[in-house]
């Protein structure tokens, strides 16, 4: 395990070198949030209802959902597909070193810095809109963090599955946009899932952004069942990932990069 921790620490150092670029990327979070904020401000100033949401709850919801959207690694890393296609995966396979664990810890290292660097530009934003933002109490914060951990692992498994399809269909870049819109819509980044028809409230994607956001807001019911459901999805999709990896390696042919 120590070698993977080392990988993670190296990645933290690497990302830190690009800290200003990462902070610039926070416009991906701040700009859409600005759009949603002013849209709903205008709507709620009229005769408007939106499920159980009010202006401050919808603002807080989008705040968390968009924050999670920028830090949860739902695509994993495209290096994985590149390594499979080029044959460089052999460098991993010929050593006592797991390809998947390598990327798990590398992305984890990067994520730690993403979380910090993406949150910093949000502080002035929260201060400016502090009347709209519902600050979580300690209990909600812990529940939110617990569901964030589930979301993070589930997203990473989805991302790994996406990247491992390279074994079967070549580089999956063409599918990225569609996948992105599916998780954006069904995960709750674009519209809160409880506003969508009932059927969408039972899909695993809602664990990516919707459930953790609701957790931070203290608006979750049946938390124990949701935790179980979340872990069940991790096991199911983890097993699919395992099958894709094993079968992919069996049919894989390369000259070694």
């Amino acid at each position: 395990m120590r070698k993977y921790i080392k990988t993670m620490l190296i990645e933290i150092k690497l990302v830190f070198n690009y800290r200003f670029s990462v902070m610039w990327n926070s416009t991906m979070l701040v700009v859409p949030l600005l759009g949603y904020t002013f849209l709903f401000k205008k709507l709620f100033s009229q005769d408007f209802s939106f499920g159980d949401y009010e202006l401050n709850t919808i603002f807080t919801y989008y705040f968390w959902a968009l924050f999670l959207y920028t830090i949860v690694p739902a695509y994993a890393w495209s290096d994985m597909a590149d390594n499979i296609e080029s044959g460089s995966i052999c460098y991993f396979l010929s050593k006592p070193y797991s390809f998947l664990l390598h990327y798990y810890f590398q992305i984890l290292g990067a994520s730690i810095l993403w979380i910090i660097l993406n949150f910093l530009p949000l502080i002035p934003f929260i201060l400016f809109f502090h009347k709209l933002f519902i600050f979580p109490n300690l209990k909600d914060l812990l529940i939110g963090i617990l569901f964030f951990i589930i979301s993070y692992n589930l997203a990473l498994i989805f991302g790994f599955i996406l990247q491992l399809t390279t074994f079967y269909i070549g580089k999956p870049y063409g599918y990225f946009s569609i996948y992105g819109w599916i998780i954006g819509l069904l995960g709750g980044e674009i519209i809160p899932v409880d506003i969508l028809p009932k059927f969408f409230n039972h899909l695993p994607f809602r664990f990516l952004y919707f459930i953790p956001s609701k957790g931070f807001m203290g608006k979750l019911e049946n938390i124990h069942i949701l935790i179980l459901e979340g872990f069940l999805y991790i096991i199911i999709f983890g097993f699919i990932l395992y099958l894709l990896w094993k079968n992919g390696l069996k049919k894989y042919t390369t000259f070694g990069g």
Binding site: W24, T27, L43, W181
Partner: protein
């Protein structure tokens, strides 16, 4: 005319290249068009709870959504990555290749990744636009013609804005994050300008003119023709800026033109 012929030839060559990777290309295309459909759904849900946003009714919002989809799809098909590639051209010292051609280098760079096949992604936003127009009623052919002119001006403003940002690469080399930021700002284009406070409206009309690009064609369609004049003015200023700044950037640039990537 020679320039147009050249750009058309470039489109055909790129189309041939794309046809080698058909399945990935088709999925990419579907992915590109899906955003506009998802936001159509978003506004459908919004309008199931409200009659209008300010004085913009549902039909106008779909005209806006369709228009912004058309403009950004046009950009994505014809100019995507073109201006953004100036950074790597400057860094690698390969921009001389473009300066030596008998066509204006800024246009060559802007259109070099043009893709005719990606024009297919114009279909969904066009359908949403037609849906909006049919519900809005009150169709006037003059409004429609001026609207089309306004759309093309918006497309050129958005493309030249990218080019203007790209010129900064002559001085700072790595300016790629600026294009991501501009792309993020483009996300605001699907909203009617009136939701924003006055200061932000002015900022997004005349500094980073995302709201001008998407909202003005809709306003022209509703008969407010003077917005077309404002658009032409902004376009003229951008052309002038690029005309002045490109030679300055070229003077700042240093390279031997011998890099082999």
């Amino acid at each position: 005319m020679r320039i147009l012929r050249y750009i058309f030839k470039l489109f055909i060559l790129n189309l041939k290249k794309e046809s080698f990777f058909r399945s990935s290309f088709i999925m990419d295309l579907i992915g590109n068009i899906s955003w506009v459909l998802i936001y159509f759904l978003f506004f459908k849900i919004i309008f199931s709870n409200v009659k209008s946003i300010g004085d913009w009714n549902e039909s106008l919002i779909y005209i806006l959504l369709g228009s912004s989809g058309i403009i950004f799809s046009l950009f994505s098909a014809l100019c995507n990555y073109g201006a953004g590639s100036i950074s790597s051209l400057v860094r690698n010292g390969t921009i001389e290749i473009f300066l030596l051609k008998p066509v204006p280098a800024p246009l060559f760079i802007l259109f070099r990744f043009a893709s005719i096949s990606h024009l297919l992604s114009l279909i969904p936003p066009s359908i949403i636009f037609i849906y909006g127009v049919s519900n809005y009623g009150n169709f006037h052919i003059l409004n429609f013609i001026l609207y089309l002119i306004s759309i093309f001006i918006s497309f050129f403003i958005y493309s030249l804005l990218h080019l203007l940002f790209g010129l900064l690469a002559f001085k700072f080399v790595e300016v790629t994050p600026l294009f991501f930021i501009l792309g993020d700002f483009a996300d605001l284009g699907k909203y009617p300008y009136l939701i924003f406070p006055k200061a932000l409206q002015l900022f997004f009309f005349y500094i980073i003119p995302i709201l001008l690009i998407t909202n003005f064609p809709v306003l022209v369609y509703t008969g407010k023709y003077y917005f077309l004049i404002l658009q032409m003015l902004v376009l003229f200023i951008l052309i002038l800026l690029i005309y002045i700044l490109f030679p300055i950037g070229r003077k700042i640039y240093q390279g031997t033109g011998t890099y082999k990537g």
